[in-house]
Amino acid sequence: MSNEYSDKKTWQLFAEGKTKGVFQLESNLGKAWSKKLAPNNIEELSALIAIIRPGCLKAYVDGKSMTQHFIDRKHGREEVTYLHESLEEILAPTYGVLVYQEQSMRIAQKIAGFDLQEADELRKAIGKKKADLMAKVKKKFIAGAKKTKIVNKEEAEEIFGWIQASSRYAFNKSHSISYAVCSYWSAYQKAHNPEEFFLSYLYYANEKQDPHQEIYELISEAKLFDIQARTPSIANYQDKFNTHNGKIYFGIKDIKSLTGKTGDNVLNAITEAEKVLDKKITKFTWIEILLFLAPLINSTAFKALSSIGFFRDFNGKITRNKALYDYEIYRVLTAAEKKWLLNNYSNKKWKSLTNALQDLAPTKKEGGGTSKQERKQVIENEINLLNNPPYSLDDDAGWLIDQEVKFLGCPVTLSKVDISDTSAANTTCKEILNGKTGNNLCVVANVQRVADYKISKGESKGKMMSFLTIEDDTCVLDSVIAFPKIKQKYKYIMYEGNNLILCGSVAKNDSSFIIDKIHEI
């Protein structure tokens, strides 16, 4: 078994807390504690899964949670002690912390001479918190201890009390080990086949409660594995997430508002347009897209495709804004005018929409395609606005990011910090996540989330502090802390969506980035 679970790369992944998508450890909590514990065998992984449950995290002894006790003991920061020396052989694998219900049963067998059935009764009594049953079992436990004579009566009562208290957090080991095995193998796949791992998770992201959040997290974490995401384009599209040249591409049906039949319609429309012009869509010109593809799909779909850069691969470089702008002008045309353009395309082979509209504008009597002077004027207006757009049709970085978040759930082409000057940064989120420590660390990041917390005890009781999730173009960092003084000083700029220069420190043996200064960009 030890050989089977001895892959260094896999254990390294746990130690770095890169456990998004890893069974049982994919939450922020799971990632943080995995990094803190850094399990390196299946026993420790099983214990990790058991001790990050609410009961254990909330079970405080000597001012520390049982989870923290376990971790400090594992790393030699706290002495491993046993309530009684006789318990060492049972509790040694968990550093003297009573983690599993099975350990309680074994203690009862050893100290009180319980047989397996009696031990199971003890487990049930503890688990179900039945006072009458508990009293009965306790009586039996004390009587049994008297017979085995391993501990005296006081010690037996203390041990029983300890077992009773463990009911708040002790977990079923067989359950936990099974989880650990699944967790190990999912981490193994992530460590060795990250591209396939992320692809499969993204593929089923829409089955999650919040698909966009899931996609956001997966795409962010993929960056840690040097896997970049791309939006689909006419040069590379499929119906669902796919990989190409080491990059993950969103599928047509992964675009918001194209997930169902609309997405199928788009795929069918592309095939149909290809048949009409007898060539692959990659060989279409922009005017051919407008004349032959646009009429086959609804406006919501065409706008969504334009907004995420689906048409970016043209020789003439169509910006997203230009695609939307031209499409809106195309939509001004009547059905008859659109048909006239289609019918005349094979002869005219227009190079641009402007050329096409110039031929269309004259009335039919004048040799064009409009029905009356009024329509001619409308088309001439649009030609004027095509030649002199009233606003820039370049893609503003901020707008582009907003569009990708709106339609894909996350920024793909650019990072949110790309719109800011990042020259003041001396480190990145990825470096901090990978264990960089020290003072005066400055990272330029976008504030993704601010969780405020009212301190309930100690000197700062009643004051507010914040836990931040920040991101730059390297990854997301969620262990960022603003203590009360900093929270108070910077509360007006420390809000979701803002790009900031965050300076602070990361102590050795800690993964939290403690902010001590914030600058606006």
């Binding site: 804004n321 939307l324 702008y325 809106e328 001004v332 004027q377 409308v378 207006n381 649009e382 004027n384 606005l385 002199n388 757009p389 009233p390 606003y391 820039s392 503003d396 901020g398 707008w399 907003d402 709106k406 007006y492 809000y495 969506g497 803002n498 790009n499 606006e520 960009i521």
Partner: protein
């Protein structure tokens, strides 16, 4: 609050009555609601109905020569400009770009100088004519339906305690604040000037707010009006 972008905009028109005037130019700048950075610029002249009789018959005021002089436009120049509906459609697309969530709640906030009295009625009129229009409330739905910033009100509040300020017209403000009057009454220049003043005001407000909070301001019972 800082989760919507601002659109500072201005119309140049052919007459003074906002309910009947014909726009001859519309310009706007988009500002990031968070850091107030410039995100985009819109500018287009608009072809009005230049024939006085036809304008009156259509329910509009004729284009006044005085207005053309002030805005530095000619009838010949305006005759070559795109028609109102085409420009309006493009303007709506421009504004819509800054609704970063694509939901009404996040529609940009309109900003301008004396917009409540003049420019917003024109916006409402055009929205009703060409969309987007909220029929149930008889209200424009291009911009935020709740918030609007008429910078003139802010300037009034900021300067009303200063007896040396005799006028808060845009021209007076330009002079007072050291802005060039060279291209004044060109919609784009007016919008840029308004945006500069707006950003300065907002930055000042933000700095003041950080030192004087309103939270529980009257909790001690010290009310001005009892």
């Amino acid at each position: 609050m800082a989760n919507r972008d601002y659109i500072v905009f201005d119309f140049e028109t052919g007459s003074r009555n906002p309910h009947k005037t014909q726009p001859t130019q519309i310009a706007a700048v988009a500002l990031d609601g968070r850091n107030l950075a410039l995100k985009g610029t819109f500018n287009s002249e608009i072809k009005p109905i230049l024939d006085d009789e036809k304008a009156i018959a259509a329910g509009f005021d004729p284009i006044e020569d005085g207005a053309l002089r002030v805005t530095n436009k000619t009838r010949e120049g305006l005759a070559k400009a795109p028609a109102l509906k085409s420009v309006w459609t493009k303007f709506c697309k421009f504004v819509d770009q800054y609704n970063w969530k694509g939901e009404p709640f996040f529609a940009p906030i309109p900003v301008g100088y004396n917009i409540i009295g003049f420019d917003m009625p024109i916006i409402s009129r055009l929205c009703e004519q060409f969309g987007p229009w909220d029929k149930s409330r008889s209200q424009q739905k291009l911009f935020s339906k709740v918030y609007k910033v008429d910078l003139m009100d802010n300037i009034f509040m900021w300067t009303e305690g200063d007896p040396s300020v005799k006028s808060i017209s845009m021209d007076s403000l330009r002079e007072r604040m050291g802005l060039s009057g060279e291209n004044a009454h060109d919609a784009l220049q007016d919008v840029k000037d308004t945006a500069n003043i707006f950003i300065k005001m907002l930055k000042t407000h933000r700095a003041v707010y950080q030192n004087i909070e309103f939270e529980k301001a009257f909790a001690n019972g010290n009310l001005y009006v009892k």
